[in-house]
Subunit: 212 residues, 2 copies
């Protein structure tokens, strides 16, 4: 085990972030000093969570996204996710003092029933029902159908969350749904292409929580 660096566990995250900042320009071909610091904090945490520097170029931010997300958290609003894995990953200890909770309804038995009645997918029904509960940030890492549902509800003026974190991973409708998100004029954080996922959506939300 001689290859293992002796380091206090609580120092590992700081050291990881230092390595990411140090290697950033070379690994990405970008200039860290040209990136808005709050956006860099989000990018850095996504790289930390994936080990993948390519997210530096894939992530895209609506200009008002970070401030809108932080304001939603500060005002005690809830965070709605598409899967329960994201509920487990988001730092509820940081969120709780502001009054918000993390909500995901996709596995609730009444959602399965509702989806059947309305001819929706469970992801769609869970998002529609979840939006009732004072949601400020919607974080979607898996289901393009959930992201498409949210965008339709916003276009129909039925809902108005402060921020959409829309980073579904995948090969069918995920890249397309994220392209459409980038064309919208409400605050979003997204990543282009097939990459994304719950790890990425959780890292983005946790970066916002740490910016407060």
């Amino acid at each position: 085990m001689h290859r293992i660096t002796e380091i206090a566990p609580q120092a590992i995250e700081g050291e990881s972030f230092r390595i990411i900042a140090k290697e950033f320009d070379q690994q990405t071909g970008l200039c860290q000093k040209d990136i808005i610091p709050e956006q860099f904090a989000v990018i850095q945490r996504v790289i930390h969570a994936t080990g993948d520097f390519s997210f530096a170029k894939l992530l895209h931010f609506h200009p008002g996204a970070i401030e809108a997300g932080c304001e939603a958290i500060r005002s005690g609003k809830n965070i709605l996710t598409d899967v329960n894995m994201a509920v487990a990953g988001i730092s509820k200890a940081i969120l709780a003092p502001y009054g918000g909770k993390v909500i995901c309804k996709v596995a609730d038995p009444e959602i399965a029933q509702l989806a059947l009645e309305r001819g929706l997918t469970r992801s769609q029904a869970a998002i529609e029902e979840g939006m009732i509960e004072n949601v400020g940030i919607v974080a979607i890492g898996n289901a393009p159908t959930a992201l498409i549902t949210i965008m339709k509800l916003i276009q129909e003026d039925k809902i108005r969350p402060e921020l959409i974190v829309g980073v579904p991973v995948g090969f069918v409708n995920a890249p397309e749904s994220k392209e459409i998100l980038q064309e919208q004029d409400f605050p979003f954080i997204t990543c282009e292409g097939r990459k994304g996922g719950t790890t990425v959506s959780v890292a983005i939300v946790n970066a916002l929580l740490r910016l407060l």
Copy 2:
């Protein structure tokens, strides 16, 4: 929304797997037909979960890994994870009929106390305590300290899980811990380098569950 493909939600996974198989050779420079089908099933599910074809070359399998993992599940053994996000992600509906459960102790209050008493990290204490509970597969996507702890306990002949899924993501000790894992002579599935994470550990375990 005209760019969105009309497809039944239950057909999306199959279509995604078809696209991955179709593009595999070109995207990876490998030949799908030279890969053991059970290993390909695991690789394919990891690519599906990450949108990242580079895992085809990064994933490494001990020759007995997949059979050992499947046998552990079949015999009703439990799956121990390093983080609660993995508990949320593993397909418990497929696991349950075999009798196994998914266990993670890292957030248990008694683990914090135990870690303090023994001078361990919470990740280490959670793995040591978790191993008592008839564990067949240990799945680690986050904490290199958890993976190092497991390997030490095995070397000291204190435990003998059937399979280690060791894919911690990160910049400090994650690549090194996975290098050491690859040199061991017990069944493992790992990925080289910095990439990995809970998404990857969950995808590997869920691929095994679907192989049964």
